[in-house]
Amino acid sequence: MSASEVIPASDKPQETFVLNVGPQHPATHGVLRLKMTMDGEYVARAEPVCGYIHRMHEKMGENRTWAQFLPNTGRIDYLAAMAYNHAYVAAVERAAKIEVPPRAEYIRVITSELNRISSHLVWFGAFLLDLGGFTPLLYAFDDREKILDLLEAITGSRLTYCYYRFGGVCNDIDADFIRGVREFVAGMRPRLKMYHTLVTENVILRRRLVGIGYIGREMCRKYGATGPVIRGAGVAYDVRKVEPYSVYRDLNFDIPAFPEGDCMARYRVRMEEIEQSLRIIEQGLDKLPDGPVMGGNVPRVLKPPAGDCCFAVEAARGRFLVRIISDNKEIPYRVRLRTPCFCNLSLFEEASAGMMLPDALALLGSLDLVIPDIDR
């Protein structure tokens, strides 16, 4: 295009203009596109455009055996793969009536909570990066690295663990792992204190988060937002409490909820959740029973009886639900995945209207989106 072809600016100034944030933009952490209609620096309308990384996980589920779909679930939200594996495995166990030994259940809870902490640490770093603070990201990754090392030692992988099996977990944990986790828990508490002094108390951060990006209960209800987003609106909704699964019923933990509904509330919910997860892990290690880690009644060729079965877990970003429909074949008839990020994103358009661009991006960061989780 040569300079002469450029349309000259019209005499009448346009009221708004369209700003394309993404699919490649530092603030969208992946290939999310926001079509922002801007009025100066104010967002008149922000329309999320997703689908750039759609991988047809649900359709893939209809084309492979029950066991073969398991690795897929870890790739939906790659930052919290354990919880996703858990939901799918538990759904199939419920459908096929497979029993899980208690030791395996405890291991599942411990590893899921470790994974939740690592996921929140990534969010913490990335969120601060959105707000222009670079250093906390690397501190958070330093801590996360310890979790990944621990999980790698038992699962063999650092991100897409694929550790749970129908009827248990594939490897038992050893004394090294237990010692490592205890060390990590002991070391994480002072680090959290450090984060609070460095970040939470910081006046610049408070100015950017307090009172910014209000998401109320009503909006959460309307769009089905879950996880830290709804807890940041003051609703203590957590699948681990309202529909306790695995051994969460035997463990003692609180659900942090802050009624302010602003970015700061969501921030504090997640930071508080790290503390709670540490508590859960400690209790899990204390109560860890001996015994096998795989159930005895797992059929070699899995054909769950025909029927419809759901299982929901509290993943790091909210309620993740797997619904499976079986027609008593080796291959699922339908696997439906209800992912939290899709619902959490859908309220963005309403919540961001009228905000300034940097605030809108802070709001986007506080939703903690993982783009593959939106597109599946």
């Binding site: 603030a27 620096e41 950017r208 940097p358």
Partner: protein, 329 residues
């Protein structure tokens, strides 16, 4: 050493250019090393010993890249902007006294000269942003202007306060007045203005804002505006902007050293010289880097609020206070 004035000035300008270029290049290195240390990693290590040749390698890379002028951009302004952002830094350093004799041009209105040229920097960024014909760049350009207007005022108020204390605009004389032990530095002249340290902090904050440094890097704001006014610049166009940022930090820190920290005066009254000037200046530069790697970015309106609601009132107070105290004594 009696050189004819034009030759002396020329030699000094050449020296100044070299100083600015080396500083800009190596402050990038220092910033990366420093950022690394703050984040518990080593920073550049591969090119040369401790990565010391990294700036050279980066320079070669940037120079060998094509300078792309986006279609629809204003080709002249687009090319002039990087030069215009670098030039004032070199000009202002010509009046900064590095030591008693090591000063390019000892002029009576040195302070005015510095501020006059300092303002060009912002205009150049705005030019670059405007000429790029990119929405992010234009948002950034608009931000830069309002930010600069907001921060020029408290900065000048602070400087006027100081001028009343010193009674001269000649930078060399200002330094000479601060001779002796460190409590003679303007920073500690509590007798004429008990709020002098506050004044210094205001000056420092304004300097951060004027040089577009974090936490006030509204112009670049990479997580919002990609790279702000520099989004469309490739190769050395970007490189010059990048270096100018560091050159301006050097200017700002030099000025702070001269005005508040006694310039080349030794803190113990003996052994004054250029070494003290450099020590103080680089300590300030380190603080600038340190601040950047500690804080998140401010939001744009709280940036303006900070200036209009906090900094300007406080600097007014110090101004009035100094007036009264000077009249009384």
């Amino acid at each position: 050493m009696d050189f004819p004035e034009p030759i002396r000035l020329l030699a000094f300008l050449l020296g100044m250019m070299a100083f600015v270029a080396v500083n800009a290049a190596y402050l990038v290195w220092a910033e990366r090393k420093g950022a690394g240390r703050f984040q518990r990693r080593p920073g550049p290590t591969e090119v040369g010993w401790a990565g010391l040749l990294q700036p050279v390698a980066d320079g070669i890379k940037l120079i060998s890249k094509q300078v792309i002028v986006p279609p629809g951009a204003d080709p002249i302004l687009f090319r002039v902007a990087p030069l215009l952002v670098m030039a004032p830094a070199m000009m202002t350093l010509a009046v900064i006294p590095f030591s008693e004799t090591l000063v390019g041009r000892d002029i009576n209105v040195g302070l005015v000269f510095v501020f006059a040229f300092g303002a060009i920097n912002v205009m150049a960024i705005m030019m670059g942003g405007w000429a790029s014909r990119n929405k992010y760049a234009i948002i950034s350009a608009a931000r830069v202007v309002s930010q600069d207007v907001a921060y020029e005022i408290p900065m000048l108020l602070v400087v006027i306060t100081l001028l009343m204390v010193t009674g001269t605009m000649n930078l060399n004389e200002i330094v000479q007045q601060q001779a002796g032990w460190f409590w003679h530095w303007n920073l500690f002249r509590l007798d004429v203005n008990p709020l002098m340290p506050v004044t210094f902090i205001i000056f420092f904050i304004c300097m951060l804002a004027e040089t577009n440094r974090a936490p006030f890097d509204m112009a670049e704001a990479e997580s919002e505006l990609v790279a702000g006014a520099f989004t469309e610049y490739a190769g050395m166009g970007f490189g010059v902007f990048f270096m100018a940022e560091y050159a301006n930090i050097v200017v700002g820190c030099s000025l702070a050293t001269v005005l508040f920290l006694g310039g080349w005066q030794s803190p113990f009254g003996v052994g004054s010289g250029v070494i003290w000037f450099l020590l103080k200046m680089y300590a300030l530069v380190f603080t600038v880097i340190w601040v950047r790697w500690t804080f998140p970015r401010t939001q744009f309106y709280s940036l303006l609020n900070l200036s209009w609601k906090i900094l300007i009132p406080i600097s007014m107070v110090t101004l009035v206070l100094t007036c009264i105290l000077l009249k009384l004594t």
